[in-house]
């Protein structure tokens, strides 16, 4: 962020007008990334400083704000009797898209926990039902085990939805995950269960590392 950089006074810094998490601007656009990288490396040629320059180019509009977001997967197609079942059904509905995403990218980033999406979802919903559930790997504290399972599930959903036709802004995909899926609802319930846990690692995870602040604020405001 520009304010942080201005306070720290590093010798050379380039301020970029992109969303947090994308310092080189646009995924899949090598030419754009090349321009950002060259602009920052050129600062090495400055004769005196500190230098804090602005990158002059915005990311394409489609990256910054959505053109409307519609998920072709109809999650309401078959009524599930509870969130655990609805979550498993969503995972099944997204499986083809996730396979395409992995084919297209040559990889999946849903690879932290070592669990399949089905098993990760089962662990999360089992934890909500039974907060005394042990970690799925003895070497992992329960808070870390939950965090990795949730990160993998979120990556599975977002990789899948970004493989579907059309362009969508990052904020739209996030809003879809948290507001329209059983996974988002389940994570909000997991937060409540985690905050009541007697395990400090679980409470820390539930409090700080599960639901983004913007979503918490929106839920609190009833939006």
């Amino acid at each position: 962020m520009r304010e942080h950089t201005a306070a720290i006074h590093p010798p050379r810094a380039l301020w970029v007008p992109f969303i947090l998490g994308r310092p080189f601007g646009v995924p899949g656009d090598a030419a754009f990334q090349h321009r950002v990288l060259l602009a920052v490396l050129k600062l090495l040629e400055a004769a005196s400083g500190p230098v804090l320059e602005n990158f002059a180019e915005d990311a394409p509009q489609s990256e910054q704000s959505g053109e409307g977001f519609a998920c072709p997967v109809n999650f309401g197609r078959v009524a599930a009797s509870n969130d655990a079942e609805a979550l498993q059904q969503e995972i099944a509905d997204l499986a083809s898209w996730h396979r395409l995403a992995a084919q297209k990218r040559g990889r999946s980033t849903a690879a932290l926990s070592g669990l399949t999406p089905v098993a990760a979802a089962r662990y999360v919903t089992d934890f909500i039902a039974n907060p005394g559930l042990p970690s799925y790997r003895s070497a992992l504290a329960r808070g870390l085990a939950l965090r990795l399972a949730c990160e993998d599930l979120k990556a599975y959903y977002l990789e899948s939805v970004n493989a579907q036709p059309g362009q969508r802004a990052a904020a739209d995909a996030q809003a879809w995950f948290w507001r329209e899926t059983a996974a988002g609802r389940t994570f909000l319930k997991l937060r409540e269960a985690g905050l009541a846990s007697d395990d400090v690692s679980v409470r820390g995870f539930a409090s700080n590392n599960l639901v983004p602040r913007a979503i918490l604020h929106a839920v609190a405001a009833g939006h």
Partner: protein, 146 residues
């Protein structure tokens, strides 16, 4: 985070302004240090507490697709990284610049932090890395935050 930075600024913690002019860009050897919490798939995920100052080594020959992200923070976009690691760790772009002769070479090793640690507690790690970078003959470091 800005509060923490401002507190250190008030204490005069950023008054030192080292400035170094090095060789021209086409002779520089460049390493990337990111705070995106990246690591190879079989490396340890980042964790909170005392382990938050740890770093992970990313070998220069690593396939960009072999990297995963286990940063604690959930308040920034991950979908860009999920689609293309270069949006946060531009290793392929750096290799292209080396092939074009724009930079001299790409370092043998790059490094990843999570960043979610008390700022001053990161200083010993920074000094350790500075020594490792010198051994790798690196004379330009690209810091890539998230």
């Amino acid at each position: 985070m800005l509060d923490k930075v401002r507190a250190i600024e008030k204490e005069g913690g950023f008054e030192s302004r080292p400035w170094v002019n090095g060789p021209p860009l086409h002779r520089r050897r460049v390493a990337i240090i990111t705070t995106a919490g990246l690591h190879e798939r079989d490396d340890r995920p980042f964790a909170p507490g005392a382990a938050a100052t740890d770093y992970r080594v990313i070998p220069g020959a690593t396939d960009a697709g072999a990297l995963v992200m286990s940063h604690l923070s959930i308040n920034y976009d991950r979908t860009g990284f999920q689609q293309d690691v270069n949006v946060v760790f531009p290793i392929d772009r750096l290799r292209e610049l080396a092939a074009e002769g724009v930079i001299g070479s790409v370092a043998d090793y790059h490094y990843s932090f999570m960043g979610a640690a008390p700022i001053r507690e990161l200083e010993p790690r920074a000094r350790q890395l500075a020594g490792l970078l010198k051994q790798d003959k690196v004379d330009a470091v690209l810091l890539s935050p998230v």
